[in-house]
Symmetry: C2
Subunit: 308 residues, 2 copies
Amino acid sequence: MREYIIGVDLGGTSIKFGKFDLDGMLIEKWSIRTNKNDNGDFIIREIGNSIKEHVEVSKILGIGFGVPGPVKNNVVLHCVNIGWGRKDIELEMHYILNDDQIVIKVANDANAAAAGEMYKGVAQGYKSLVMFTLGTGVGGGLIIDGKLIEGVHGAGGELGHIVVDTQHKFKCNCGKRGCLETVASATGIVRLAKHYLSTSKEPTPLRKFFNFSAKKVIDFAKDGDPFCVKVIDESMAYLAMELSAICLSVDPEIVVIGGGISNAGEFIIEKLEKHFLEDIYPFILESNIKLASLGNDAGIYGCAYLIK
Amino acid sequence: MREYIIGVDLGGTSIKFGKFDLDGMLIEKWSIRTNKNDNGDFIIREIGNSIKEHVEVSKILGIGFGVPGPVKNNVVLHCVNIGWGRKDIELEMHYILNDDQIVIKVANDANAAAAGEMYKGVAQGYKSLVMFTLGTGVGGGLIIDGKLIEGVHGAGGELGHIVVDTQHKFKCNCGKRGCLETVASATGIVRLAKHYLSTSKEPTPLRKFFNFSAKKVIDFAKDGDPFCVKVIDESMAYLAMELSAICLSVDPEIVVIGGGISNAGEFIIEKLEKHFLEDIYPFILESNIKLASLGNDAGIYGCAYLIK
C-alpha cells in the first residue's frame, strides 16, 4: 500500500524532509546538511538514503522536490548555489530507490512554497495566488487555476529579478541593476538605509550602528523613527509597483508575503497595501495581501502538493 | 444542425461581426455602427437583429463577444465608453434570439484579440502568450495554457495601466500617473515627443509641425533622425520594462505586438527586443516577439475561439 508522500525542500545549507499522509497531514519532519562537495554530486544519493532511513520505500506514493533553480518539464535546468547543471532527479531517484513506480515531481523552491501556502497555509481554499518570499534575496511563486506557473524557460515566478528601481540602480547578484531584490529583500532594506545614511544628514538612531540588520531598520520604523519609516516605505513602494504589475496582468485571488521580512507582520503589509491600492486603481479596488503562515515548512508542504 | 460560430467584437465606434464555420474558417464579416444612445441600451438588440439578418438562428452553435471592459464569469462588469454598467449578455441574447441553446461567451476585447492571434494568427500553435495592442490606448491580453486570464476582478491583462514611468509621470485617463499607456500608445509617443520638443532645443524635422502623429515620429526615426530615434527608444524601453515583469512572472511562449503602432513593423520590434533582452537577463536568454498578423480581425477570431 502506497500511503505516504515525501516532500523534499532542497536548500543551499540544509535539506528539509516532510513525511505526509495522502491527505497532506504532516507526520514527521527532519533535515540533513546539504553536501555541496563535487558540485553537489552526492546530494541525490544522500536524499535517497535519508528517505530510506525514515520510510519504507514500498509505502511511498511519491516524492516532491523543491529546488533552488529553474525547472522545466520536471527537469532541473541548473542550481548555481549547489553546483548543479541540468539534472533529471526523477531518473536518479528511481535508480537509487530501486522503484520506478514512485511518482517524482520537481518544482522551483519558491514556486513550491507558494503551493504549500495554498495547500495548507494562509492561501488555503484559493486557486490563484502570487507569493513573495522576502529573505536574504527575494523569491517568488505564481499559481493560476491551482497550477504552478513554471514558464517556457523555467523563469515563471522569478519575481526577485524584475527591474523596478530606475533611480538608485543598485547592482544585483544577477548582473542587472535595480532588481526588486536590491531594494526589497533583507539585504535590500539595509542597502537602502545605508544609501540614505551616507547621502543625507537626517538624524536616526541607526547612525549609532556600524552594521545593522533589516530587522533593526524595521524595529526603529515601528518605533516611529522618520528616517527608518521612509526607508521601509520606499522599499514597500517598489514591491507594490511590481505587485501591481503582476495583479494587473493575472489578477490573482490572494497575495502572500513570506520570508524573514514578513516577521515584521502587519506593519509591512500596511505600508505595502497603501502603495499597492494606489497602483492598481481603478481597475482593482481592494487588496487581499496576507502574511504567510507556514514559515520554513511552506516548502515541504508545497512539495507534497506536487504529488497530490 | 448547428454549423456556425459568430464572433462579435464590440467597440466604441463600430461592432464587427464574423461568421465562422466550426473549424474557425471565416465565411463572412460585416459591421454596424455602435449605437451609444441611452447608455448603450439598444446595442444588444441591434446585435441580435444584425445576426438574424445574416445567419439562420437555428444554425448558430455559439456567439462569442469581445467587449471594451472587464468581464468576470461571463458577465460584463462595466464598459465606460459605451455607457454600460453590469451586463449579462448571455441572458439578453438568449431572449432576443429566442434560443437558449446557443452558447454565449463573453471576454474582454483585448483578451479576445490575444485569443484570435493564438487561434488563427501569428501565435498559432502556442498555448501561452501575452499581447499588447498599441493603438490610441494600450490594450493587453494574457493567455496561459490556452486559457484567457480574466482575473478575479476581471483585471487580467489590463496591461495599459501598469505604472512604468516614475520620471515624467504623465497623467493617464485612468486617474493615475505614469501608466504604460501614457508613454507607449500612439498618443503616448506623441506626448513624449512633445515633451522633449519643449524641454530641449535639439534640432529635428518634427519641429516643423504644430501637430503630428505617432506615425510621423516613427517615420522620422526610421529615417535616422536622432531626436525621434530617442523618443521611440524611450517608449520601447518602458514597454520592455513592463514586458520583462510579465515574462519573469509567467514566462509565456510568445509575445505579440498589435495595434496601429505595430504597423511600424520590425523597426519597433528591434527597439523593444534590445531593452527586453537586457531586462530578462540572465533568466531568459532569448526573445520571441512577433508582430500581430490578423489586424482588426483579431477580435472576431478570438470571439470565435471562445466558442471552440
